[in-house]
Amino acid sequence: MSTRPQIKDASTTQPATMPAAMRSIVDIAEALMIDLPIAVTKRVLARTDERELNEAGWKAYDTIVKVANDATSRVYTNSIFGRVAGGAMEFAVRAQRLNTALSSAIFANLWPALGLPTAADVASMREEVSAMRAGLADARAAIALAAIEPVQSRIPRDNPRFDVETAMLSVAGGSQRPLYTGLAMPKGRELAEMKGNVSN
């Protein structure tokens, strides 16, 4: 049975008006200078099991983490810190832009002289291809949406799995790329039977 003296809850021993920072220091001191040394001493002298020492160690750890979290929150909720951090971020973005601009200015003439495309050329080419892809995807999406409706109206509602497969094929629009990625699709004979049921 544990004979460790019970340390009163910090909230009962500390005055209610104690500032948060002071309370944090008291909590850490309590954990590191009272709980832990007592547990270590008992482990050495009284040859108790390690459970008590572990508990004291974890209590000290939890207290330190809590104090660190509280301190971080106090810093983040400080408006001066917010202004400084925001300013630092804007400065970093400006520096990045300056770096990009300088690199472009230096290499802009070199690359074409060597017959190589500039980063801007590659980027604009990429954007063009992406825009074409997006246009194509939108067109396919429109076709897919238009295709679901007539299919839906022919399929009885009591067979949702067939609906899924049919709609999926409609979405694929006859392309080589199947859109199915799940695991529960009916296949082979099961699918044939379902289609048979519908046509019957």
Binding site: S73, G82, G86, E90, S130, A141, R161, L183, A184
Partner: protein, 354 residues
């Protein structure tokens, strides 16, 4: 094995995971873990891949469309069997559709709320209507997805029967939590410069932002936590999947970032009724669907006070704030939420199914 070597092992694994994400990329769909619940993709267009998860047994009349945030992969909603929101809903008899957002590329930097709400979500709802043969759908929006769902419901009220918003960022004037201050430290000019420089907000920047919010936790405490919970059954599998999700940040399209930072964050436009999407004013009074607004009382990412104003702003007669003692992600992955919160959401939807 000693505690120190065990914690060091977890820490090293985490450090390598982060290093790998910085070098090979963050939230790529190909890096998603295997799906826990089977699905089919029924529609793909714009930046949407629409998944369909079939109801287990007889389905309720009104299907559910899940809309997740734009800045992380949505597999958190279908993490593993027994820890899956999707599985939970399908077991309650809902036909579930989920938007799997396709990450934006450089050419998508001009995508804003209009493109995501009036095109992508509108097309997804249309696909669900056609696929399921219904006039109206129920929408569940999580975090930023809740904001998108709310905007869609205000702009296209005729298609929405029920709306459930979870951890909805709405009132940006709240000033309690570190994130309230940190997320508003960038001025309008700073945000514009960031977009001019990078096009879209890069995933590494989003990852760093969220890690900076809780440095002690991400640097050491979560690994210590993993060590201390090693003996809990299934904990380590869950920890690894959650870590994978924490590294699944996705680029945030430039225009929608500017609209979020400037219009919503700095000017609090949605609360003030001055928000416009695609040139159309967003009037929240046009939201007439039944609305359940779930607020995580321990949420440190979206201030609970930020969500609370919703019922006062919308036109619905059937509306409520539903407080639940959970954190931001606990609402999706905690066993307690899956046991109590999601059945409550399912029950609420079922009552309004007819």
């Amino acid at each position: 094995m000693s505690a120190i070597s065990s914690i060091a092992g977890f820490w090293m694994e985490g450090a390598l995971r982060t290093l790998d994400a910085f070098t090979t990329g963050f939230g790529q769909a190909s890096n998603d873990p295997p799906t826990a619940t089977p699905y089919c993709v029924i529609y793909e267009g714009g930046k949407v891949r629409l998944r369909h998860y079939e109801a287990a047994g007889a389905a309720h009349h009104t299907p559910v469309l899940l809309i997740y945030s734009l800045i992380k992969r949505p597999f958190i909603l279908d993490l593993m069997q027994g820890r899956s929101v999707v599985e939970n809903l399908t077991r309650q008899g809902f036909d579930v559709y989920m938007i799997d957002w396709i990450p934006p590329v450089a050419a998508d930097k001009n995508r804003g709320f209009h493109e995501y709400v009036d095109e992508d979500i509108a097309n997804s709802v249309r696909a669900v209507q056609l696929h399921r043969g219904v006039e109206k759908v129920s929408i569940i929006g999580y975090c930023f997805g809740g904001l998108l769902a709310l905007l869609y419901t205000a702009l296209h009220p005729q298609n929405v029967k029920n709306l459930v918003t979870l951890t909805l960022p709405l009132d940006m004037s709240t000033r309690d939590l570190p994130i309230d201050f940190m997320s508003r430290m960038l001025s309008e000019t700073g945000a514009r410069m960031l977009v001019d420089t990078y096009g879209n907000v890069p995933p590494w920047m989003i990852f760093s932002f969220f890690n900076t919010l809780a440095p002690t936790h991400h640097l050491i405490d979560k690994f210590v936590g993993a060590h201390r919970s090693t003996e809990r059954r299934g904990y380590l599998d869950m920890f690894k999947l959650f870590e994978k999700w924490l590294h699944s940040d996705v680029a945030f399209a430039g225009k929608i970032f500017l609209e979020t930072n400037n219009d919503l964050g700095i000017h609090n436009a949605l609360m003030k009724g001055t928000m416009k999407v695609g040139g159309v004013a967003v009037d929240l009074k046009k939201v007439v669907a039944a609305v359940m607004n779930v607020i995580g009382d321990k949420d440190d990412i979206v201030n609970p006070k930020s969500s609370e104003a919703l019922p006062d702003l919308i036109g619905s007669e059937d509306k409520e704030n539903f407080h639940y003692p959970t954190g931001h992600m606990g609402a999706a992955v905690s066993s307690d939420a899956l046991k109590n919160l999601w059945p409550a959401i399912g029950g609420w939807l079922t009552q309004r199914d007819a």
